[in-house]
């Protein structure tokens, strides 16, 4: 999803409205993102990204601030979320989750670069979207995202639903195994009645779980997969751009 490439020209270095709208929805789904990631998303320069954020902030659609090391973050205001048709609570990205949000965004952007992903029409269902569906107090573990592959995509894995997990820090093997088991045994959609969440005999919701791991977490995830013995878990390394800049 490089929004500027192939979507028409920019006007004096500014992002066109279609690309801006798509970026607005992207930002809403990901809680927020840093300007460098917005620039990657737009397929443009950091000046273009900053210009777009200025436009959004001027319209009251977004706010921006330096929340941590690295470029400033941008997130949508209530008006911005309403413009996207999203019913999430408007709030800046939680400081404790900045690294995780950046990592998940990097995973999504990395997938966007693959032609099979773009051409296959895969749909990214973000954690924020899933969280909005589950009832308050539910103890289901939510994946960081789901990737839905349409039946008509023509790919070998068409029709599958993948659970995406970005692992920056190592949990215990037992906890990781429990999460893997929960992801792979779930049969119902998030927010469905509890009786339908795990129905024996029904096909699982997630055909596979894709773990994107930092070097610190890779060993634990590998051991958890071995302990579980499930062949439906794919493990890869997080992209280099997934990490927050080191504090100066």
């Amino acid at each position: 999803m490089r929004l500027l490439s192939g979507h028409g020209p920019c006007c004096d270095g500014e992002v066109n409205s279609a690309a801006a709208n798509a970026a607005l929805v992207f930002t809403a789904e990901m809680y927020g993102l840093q300007l460098d990631q917005l620039a990657v998303l737009l397929g443009g320069t950091s000046r273009q990204a900053r210009s777009l954020v200025t436009r959004w902030a001027g319209s009251g659609l977004a706010e921006t601030a330096t929340l941590g090391p690295g470029p400033p973050w941008v997130w949508l205001t209530r008006a911005g979320l309403r413009a996207c048709g999203a019913r999430y609570a408007a709030a800046p990205p939680a400081l404790a989750r900045l690294a995780h949000i950046r990592a998940v965004t990097a995973v999504r952007l990395a997938l966007d670069t693959v032609p099979a992903y773009r051409d296959g029409g895969a749909h990214w269902r973000s954690e924020r979207h899933l969280r909005g569906r589950v009832r308050i107090g539910a103890r289901d573990h939510l994946p960081d995202a789901e990737v839905h592959w349409p039946d008509e995509s023509g790919l070998a894995w068409a029709g599958e639903c993948w659970a995406i997990e970005a692992e920056l820090t190592a949990k215990t093997v037992a906890r990781t195994t429990a999460i893997m088991r929960e992801l792979l045994s779930r049969t119902g959609d998030y927010g469905c009645p509890a009786a339908q969440s795990r129905v024996p005999g029904e096909p699982p919701r997630h055909a596979r779980a894709v773990y994107l791991c930092s070097p610190a977490a890779t060993g634990t995830v590998l051991r958890a997969r071995d302990a579980l013995g499930a062949g439906r878990i794919e493990i890869r390394s997080l992209p280099a751009s997934a990490y927050l800049a080191a504090p100066s």
Partner: protein
């Protein structure tokens, strides 16, 4: 009674004043300190009993358990050449030197048992006064006291079951533990609701509405039966335990409970848990010939009156098909093929006499329709001996008539199995019995099952769900010799009446003014239900009243924590191809290796992931 309690209160107050006075003036200060320590312990004990809703017996027991400490202290004092009075004097010296640790060491061995015994006396007096309605400022005080004590007892029971390992499934003696006792009336007031394991092998009744924790209780009872049964089997006392659950509700909820039951029962020792008809089948055609004829005829609902003629005709035709010289049918298709006048004539070597010959096509039509609706679940292969637990899901909500026929067939199969192996331990649990009660006269099984080692456990949402007629309901309840579990239900009165009554003291107090009552009045003995129906109506989730032999124990049921869910399959389970023998090859206990998806079924996505994120770290498993 009222005057007596006032006298007791006055005596205790006098004792406290005496101790305080002695502390100041009369008695030696050291003795006064000892008396004060006893009173402090007594106050603490009584306060703890009030806060935790303990019976007075608990305080007496605590006092008894602390007596060894007193004995050791006396022995040590004698060995050291001191006297107990000298120890008290030492305590006083320690007080003067502000050495509180020394004070405690000197006084605890005496003060604790004496204080706890005194607390027990005071608490039992308080309980008796409130139970008689003689305590408190108004007659309503006793009611408020009872409600408050109930809340305290519930809180204590919940705390007890929350402690890891505090509520085992079976005790070291092999008794079944259901949970923590909230309140016991007519039963021993212990901390845990213990039942001899033999009760699980007797008929039981469970009544509770939706969302009251009935499934949790049932799972615990089943797990207890299985664990105790396996222990007996290992000791050579009985055959292997077999649990057959008929879940007559059906639907997704039944399957969710089946999955939970599978995991819980695995934990309690069951090796194979078969879920019928989703994952395993049974064969109706393994029944002995005579029973097969009866079962087949009973599967079809008949009318009354003039329809009896057609019932007889059908039975005759079915008997001809089943008892043919070539042997009984081996499958549904085989049986249906025999329901043909030509086949029967060939088999018996003669033409059928009228009118049976004319009715054969009609009989065949009815059976074709029946078996189409029943599905393949009863067409084998498989028998009850193939698994430790059979969890049978009957669609009693969506397809009542089909569920009734399936229940009938399954019970007949079970009866045949039990008759063939009478030394076994078999529990038939019928959940949501009301869905199939119309055509499943389970009390017939009740009456002949015990001698065969078969116990029947019936559960229903309400008293009225047990059976269509009141006679049948009472018959079920009266023969539940293993006890009745009563969860929250709006109409507990018939069951509560079965629990019986106890004699209580009821006091009337004189009204002396506006909302003022004197402490004089009259008392009388009267009967009150052992299990208070209002308490039953107000039970919370996970609370149950166990009614047995004229007593009731209110219990906070301990939920069994099941192992993690088995991984789902990539493709729907091929139920048609699954046989009981296949299932037996699986190792028991989660994770269920056979449930893991075949990786080769999943397409390789490495191309995509490698392009996005690079190669997999550590290689592909």
């Amino acid at each position: 009674m009222i005057r007596r309690t006032r006298a007791l209160a006055a005596a205790i107050a006098a004792a406290v004043l005496l101790a305080a006075g002695a502390l100041v003036t009369v008695a030696p200060l050291a003795i006064a300190i000892a008396v004060l320590a006893v009173i402090l312990v007594a106050a603490g004990g009584a306060g703890a009993a009030w806060l935790r809703g303990w019976p007075a017996r608990r305080l007496y027991l605590a006092a008894a358990w602390s007596l060894p400490m007193l004995a050791v202290w006396l022995a040590a004092t004698a060995v050291s050449g001191h006297t107990p009075g000298g120890a008290v004097r030492n305590a006083w010296l320690a007080v003067r030197h502000h050495d509180l640790l020394a004070v405690a060491i000197q006084l605890v061995p005496v003060a604790v048992p004496a204080g706890l015994a005194l607390a027990g006396l005071a608490w039992s007096w308080r309980l008796a006064a409130m139970a008689a309605g003689a305590g408190g400022r108004s007659p309503g005080a006793a009611v408020a006291f009872d409600r408050r004590q109930w809340r305290h007892q519930v809180r204590a029971a919940r705390a007890r079951i929350a402690v890891p390992g505090a509520v085992p499934l079976l005790t070291a003696r092999g008794d079944f533990v259901a949970g923590a006792v909230i309140r016991a009336v007519g039963h021993p007031a212990s901390q845990l609701t213990r039942l001899p394991a033999s009760r699980l092998r007797a008929h039981q009744l469970v009544i509770g509405g939706t969302g009251t924790g009935k499934s949790t209780l049932l799972l615990r009872l089943w797990a207890g039966f299985m664990a105790a049964g396996l222990t007996r089997h290992a000791a050579g006392l009985a055959g292997p335990p077999v649990l057959v659950v008929l879940d007559c509700k059906g639907g997704a909820d039944a399957r969710r409970i089946a999955d939970r039951a599978r995991r819980v029962l695995h934990e309690s020792g069951a090796r194979n848990v078969a879920v019928w008809p989703d994952e395993a089948r049974l064969s109706l055609w393994e029944l002995p010939v005579r029973e097969l004829v009866t079962t087949l005829v009973d599967l079809i609902e008949h009318g009354t009156g003039g329809a009896a003629y057609y019932t007889d005709v059908m039975e005759a035709v079915v008997a001809l098909a089943v008892e043919a010289p070539c042997g009984p049918p081996a499958s549904t298709a085989d049986f249906l093929a025999r329901l043909d006048a030509g086949w029967l004539a060939l088999a018996y070597g003669e033409h059928l006499a009228s009118p049976a010959a004319r009715q054969v096509p009609d009989v065949a039509l009815r059976f074709r329709t029946l078996f189409r609706r029943l599905g393949p679940g009863l067409d084998g292969p498989g028998s009850l001996a193939d698994a430790d637990v059979w969890y049978c899901i009957l669609e009693g909500t969506a397809e009542v008539r089909v569920a009734e026929a399936q229940a009938r067939a399954l019970v007949d199969l079970l009866a045949s199995y039990v008759t063939a192996a009478p030394a076994g331990q078999v529990l038939l649990a019928v959940d949501e019995f009301s869905a199939v009660s119309r055509r499943l006269p389970i009390w017939q099984l009740y009456e002949r099952a015990r001698s065969l080692g078969l116990a029947v456990q019936v559960s229903a949402q309400s008293w009225h769900g047990l059976a269509a007629r009141d006679d049948d309901r009472y018959r079920l309840a009266a023969t539940a010799e293993g006890g009745i579990w009563l969860l929250r239900t709006p109409h507990p009165d018939p069951v509560v009446a079965l629990a019986g009554q106890r004699t209580v003291t009821d006091s009337a107090r004189q009204l002396t003014g506006r909302l003022r009552w004197s402490r004089s009045g009259t008392s009388r003995l009267q009967a009150a239900p052992v299990a208070d129906p209002d308490l039953v109506r107000g039970l919370d989730v996970g609370q149950a009243a166990y009614i047995y032999r004229g007593g009731a124990t209110f219990t906070q049921v301990k939920r069994l924590v099941a192992g993690p869910a088995a991984l789902g399959r990539q493709a729907p389970i091929a139920t048609a191809a699954t046989t009981a023998s296949d299932r037996h090859d699986r190792p028991a206990g989660p994770p269920d290796v056979s449930a893991r998806p075949d990786v080769s079924v999943l397409p390789d996505v490495s191309v995509l992931l490698d392009a996005a994120f690079g190669p997999a770290p550590g290689g592909r498993a």
